[in-house]
Symmetry: C4
Subunit: 220 residues, 4 copies
């Protein structure tokens, strides 16, 4: 952890923001089909969205609250809903990266990127201004994030995710999961959103560029 605690948001406004961001992520195609998710660190613990529900319709009362040791204190409402199966992965990222928020995205361009070459264990971009939207990254240098292999159950990803976090490339703020999506984080919810938008832009750009026919002289 890195002293981020002193400026952590209160639960109530963070819960409102979490639900607003889920509506935004749904519109962006990152959490359709009840997939994807979001967690925000708050004073005294963590908020986590429920599993298996339409993410764009989640209300603050539907959120789960975990204490600082990641024990569930309460589903805010006495609901039949279940906490996101991503929770152990969120926990691993919070513990190792000192993150303030973690997004789980099912974005099509990210999943396409993970399958382009099943032997590659990294996504890599270079010479795109948009890379500068990632904290610490710079324009002319390559930027990379790891790809880990998917598992039948989401919670089984924890081991390989932790291994990937131990040898994370410089400035990487995401781990892609082959056939599945990505976990993306930031110092707070808005930075996590910024990073998720940048990785999405980069994957979409790289996909669209890959479709272009080889350049022909004087093609206009």
């Amino acid at each position: 952890m890195d002293g981020i605690g002193e400026s952590l948001p209160d639960r109530a406004p963070a819960g409102e923001l979490l639900c607003e961001l889920l509506r935004c992520f749904y519109a962006l195609g990152w959490c359709t089909g009840t997939g994807g998710g979001l967690s925000i660190r708050v004073q005294g613990g963590y908020l986590v969205a429920p599993s298996g529900v339409a993410k764009e319709r989640v209300c603050p009362e539907d959120l789960f609250v975990l204490d600082e040791t990641f024990e569930t204190v309460s589903p805010l409402a006495g609901t039949r809903q279940q906490i996101s199966e991503c929770t152990p992965l969120f926990e691993a990222i919070y513990r190792r990266q000192g993150a303030g928020a973690v997004i789980h995205s099912h974005s099509i361009p990210i999943v396409l990127a993970t399958r382009r070459d099943r032997n590659r264990r990294l996504l890599r971009w270079q010479s795109l201004e948009m890379i500068k939207g990632i904290r610490g990254a710079s324009y002319p240098h390559p930027h990379e994030i790891p790809i880990i292999e998917n598992t039948p159950r989401e919670s089984e990803l924890r081991e390989s995710l932790e291994a990937a976090l131990q040898s994370l490339p410089d400035h990487a703020h995401a781990i892609a999961v082959r056939d599945h999506g990505a976990y993306i984080w930031g110092r707070d919810a808005m930075e996590a959103k910024r990073h998720a938008e940048v990785y999405d832009w980069l994957c979409r750009f790289q996909y669209e560029e890959s479709l272009e026919p080889p350049h022909r002289e004087e093609g206009a």
Copy 2:
């Protein structure tokens, strides 16, 4: 049927939800040009959207109500509108699958998928996490839905749709119609929406992946 009846929604909130979902489906491109549709099972019967009207502008008063034997009790308003031509197809799915809601989608990625190979009678996906959004489906296993041939009039699809329902692949919650779209269902309206989003994601993903040029070593 499967005892779903005891938790069926009341007409009034289901009517509001039906109209809200139509606006959502219009924005997703599933029911432009007045195509597509939605029906929800309620206490004592079924709600069905009218035919040939802008689906994103349907109000609860425009909905048709059918009783449990699928006789039209009333168009809620004394309107000149006609009930969806899909009604016999909705009925067949309700009767056989014990569904709580049925969506008819004209999504472009689904129609593209039905035409990729006119000899194939199944759509098939495998090794994509998103498949888990379908009730009963799992990550590493293939998931399939049948394709039936289109007919000049929508009501003429009933026979082949019923035949397809009789030999439905494991966990399938949709039937695609070549050149046309798909019928997608779930235990309630929100599950039908989840399934429709998943099938749409899968078709869109498969289409976009099919455009990629063959992998070249060290392509970044």
Copy 3:
């Protein structure tokens, strides 16, 4: 004309609807860059959107009113705005087709379709259920609309547009303009919108299908 007059809408609600539809068409990408437009026939005349303004921000007070002989009665507000340059084309379509509304679209898929083969003078679709969204068209039969050549000034299109109207294919409710877009009409504003959505779906579908690689056996 075809007796449509007796059920023509009043100016005030038609003006509200016209502005609401422009916002919808902007979101659909049909009138970005202040291009595109919309006119609705009303009791005693016609409403026409102004030229060269952001179409999604047009208010009823910005609309021009023409009488039944297509003379401008008033810009509803004492504005510096100009009436759409499409007005003579709208007039030709109203006179010949007995239309109740005309949409001018700059949709990218439509413009792509007009340029696929510069020698072709028709757009043509067949065996797509969506075709049935056009009044009079049916599923298994081909549906065609003419393409006319673009001209430096929009008003110069009138002659070729009138020639195209004289030999319009069966059930056609649109004329495409090469490099430019299309004029699409219906018996009232909602039918014109339905037709525009259908033609847009058809052009987009045909474009996306044209990108697919040739079918390979057992490709999943």
Copy 4:
């Protein structure tokens, strides 16, 4: 400058408009990941959006105000935010072009266009009606904008941007930056928006057309 000053908007309505347009540009994909930006000339100076924040959430109080000599008078709120790094580039465009507003876009189609051929220093379109949305441009004639090379820091672009402004092609209202995006301007905010929509349409159109397979006779 060109006497535009006498009709410059007041700060308060221009600040509201600036924030509304940022929300619109975010939805269009031009300023995701906190990239992109917007500045509007007002009575007595200039408004500039802050840097590194979610552009769709900027409020009028977050805007920076510069006086007519481009000195920062005040961030309207006593905020920790920083003024956009684009400010020196906005200044250069205001000074040379007499613009009333400048947009900085990270649109994917524009960035794709800058990378299609790294030896080209111009983007060029011809024979597209949409070109007429640029002030002074006409339908049958080619329209061009310059491409300049990207630099590690945005402020370092100023020199090459000024050189490009000195030899700007006829009617050009934008400068593209390779690997990065574009600066687009107009006489006022709404014209800058119109120009940005037109350039975006042109780049998107050209990209989509480039993917089409070569025309085959009688392909429908």
